[in-house]
Amino acid sequence: MAVEAQFQKVEEKLFTNRYIVDSGQPHIVVAPHEKPSKNLLAMTHLCPAGCYSKSETGQVELTADGCLECGTCRVLCEESGEITWNYPRGGYGILFKFG
């Protein structure tokens, strides 16, 4: 099936969710890099919350506020040291109303 671009944006989906964001304490951090690995670059498509994006200079950046804490980026990018993945502080992060 052709996956087209005019579908509802991920950001719009996240508006329905409930979060308590731990401001200034992102639970996932991308290590400084010049050229992202294939896996890290894939996260710009793969992250279900659209948290990863590519900067103009080609690095992968992360805004973890909308994170659904699924762990996909941890599975793909933690071992290589490109990201560090911690849980948000107790009570913070995504709070599923239904789950």
């Binding site: 989906k13 498509h45 793969l46 279900p48 071992e79 995504i94 109303k97 239904f98 789950g99």
Partner: protein, 434 residues
């Protein structure tokens, strides 16, 4: 944080953690349960189907007050192409029995109830508490945990790691590996709200009856994956999941895959006019038997998704989780009542109980299935659905072409697409299923 020592600390308030937290205090053990979410279930996601038998073994009269959505009376399997689905539907009025076999549930509500039941039995639950590390003694035995609350560590004879598929603690303590990309699926899901009567009319149901659709085919773009549609009381759960390794190779967006699934002509009318109230994502353990890590050691056991205890072929997870949590609780109780120590040797009883149950027997039966789905994804999820759909179209479309020519066309298409591969595919699937 807390000075007293516990018989057991349970990490997590999902299916396996709550099962353990219900089992242990019911037998007189002192239990502390730690949950990082604001309330039990706030970090948990499931389709979700509850299997009654496994919960009955923990809470026999759960039907009195557990938050259940609909009892399932119909199961639909859909083989999908871009514009069609070939379906197999199984509906049986016997499922309207006095004690129904399966229900849909909404996890954040269910988990809160399940944890309350454990508290009523005497388990102490602390939410908004993230365990940051396991504490070991000089010999490497796990003797407690450190949390992100102020104060020192909390001690216990045994720690039950019911931390879920993405649990960090077991991996950090080198008790289990981080899940491999080929051993986990990423699923995304939306909650579509509609009036109960609308859901009942669209799915041909009476009040409290429910239906489930599991769908595979071109909806996953040639990746190993499945879509699902579950009816709740006043909402429909719609989701799709594929192996993380496939997602990574195909650079596909799961959110867009879900959007495409929702727009499929067979799906769109079922959810038309609904209000979406949540968008969730979660990993599902799909590695099967071969991916199950060591499940016990000195002072620790692993339960549920954290131990890859998920039957991907039958889409069963919560029942394996609940059963493993219950068995961990029963094993710990037996060791405790013999006044023995929580050593790896003694805790091997937990694994023995799992081995003798459906949990490990079912996983073992399908041990070759995950590998097959991985290597044959493009045949199973793209080629065959299209062949089957064309065969069905040849069968039902009446246009003056003689039947013999239509059947020849169907056979030719299968031969052309897979040739002798047809036989190989059949043998491979039969072998993995056996």
């Amino acid at each position: 944080m807390i000075d007293e020592k516990f018989d057991a600390i349970v990490i997590g308030a999902g299916m396996s953690g709550n099962a353990a937290a219900n089992t242990l205090p019911a037998r007189g053990l002192k239990v502390l349960q730690l949950e990082r979410g604001e309330y039990p279930g706030s970090k948990n996601v499931q389709g979700g189907i509850l299997y009654a038998d496994m919960l009955e073994k923990i809470i026999p009269d759960f039907r009195i007050d557990a938050p259940l959505e609909r009892r399932l009376i119909e199961q639909r399997f859909w083989f999908m192409t871009d514009r069609a689905h070939t379906g197999m539907h199984y509906r049986n009025d016997d499922f309207n029995e006095e004690k129904p076999n399966r229900y849909t549930i909404i996890r954040s509500q269910f988990d809160r109830w399940f944890a309350r039941e454990a508290q009523a039995k005497g388990s102490i639950l602390l939410c908004e508490t993230t365990v940051v590390e396991l504490i070991h003694d000089a010999y490497g035995k796990v003797i407690g945990v450190r949390t992100d609350r102020s104060g020192g560590p909390v001690h216990a004879d045994v720690v039950v790691l019911a931390e879920g598929v993405n649990g960090l603690l077991g991996t950090r303590a080198e008790l289990r590996p981080r899940p491999a990309a080929a051993h986990v699926a990423l699923a995304v899901k939306e909650m579509h709200f509609l009036p109960a009567e609308t859901i009942e009319a669209r799915f041909n149901l009476k009040a409290d009856e429910g239906a489930v659709i599991e769908a595979a085919g071109t909806i996953s773009n040639g990746m190993a994956g499945m879509g699902f549609i579950y009816t709740n009381k006043e909402s429909i759960s719609v989701g799709i999941g594929c192996l993380v390794s496939d997602f990574a190779e195909n650079e596909t967006s799961p959110a867009q895959l879900l959007e495409a699934f929702k727009r499929h002509p067979s799906v769109a009318p079922l959810i038309a006019g609904s209000e979406v109230k949540e968008y969730a994502a979660h990993l599902i353990p799909e590695g099967g038997f071969k991916a199950v890590p060591q499940l016990f050691g000195d002072g620790w056991v692993i339960c549920g998704d954290a131990g890859q205890l998920n039957n991907a072929v039958h889409r069963e997870g919560s029942n394996l989780a609940m059963t493993s949590g219950r068995m961990a609780g029963e094993a710990i109780f037996q060791i405790k009542s013999r006044k023995d120590k929580m050593t790896a040797d003694n805790l091997s009883l937990y694994k023995k109980m799992l081995d003798e149950s459906f949990v490990m027997k079912d996983l073992k039966k399908h041990k070759d299935m995950p590998g097959l789905l991985h290597t044959q994804a493009s045949n199973l999820f793209l080629t065959y659905p299209q062949l089957v759909s064309k065969a069905m179209e040849n069968f039902v479309r009446v246009d003056g072409t003689p039947k013999i020519d239509k059947e020849k066309d169907t056979v030719r298409r299968f031969r052309k697409a897979r040739g002798f591969g047809l036989i190989g595919d059949a043998i491979r699937i039969a072998r993995a299923w056996r």
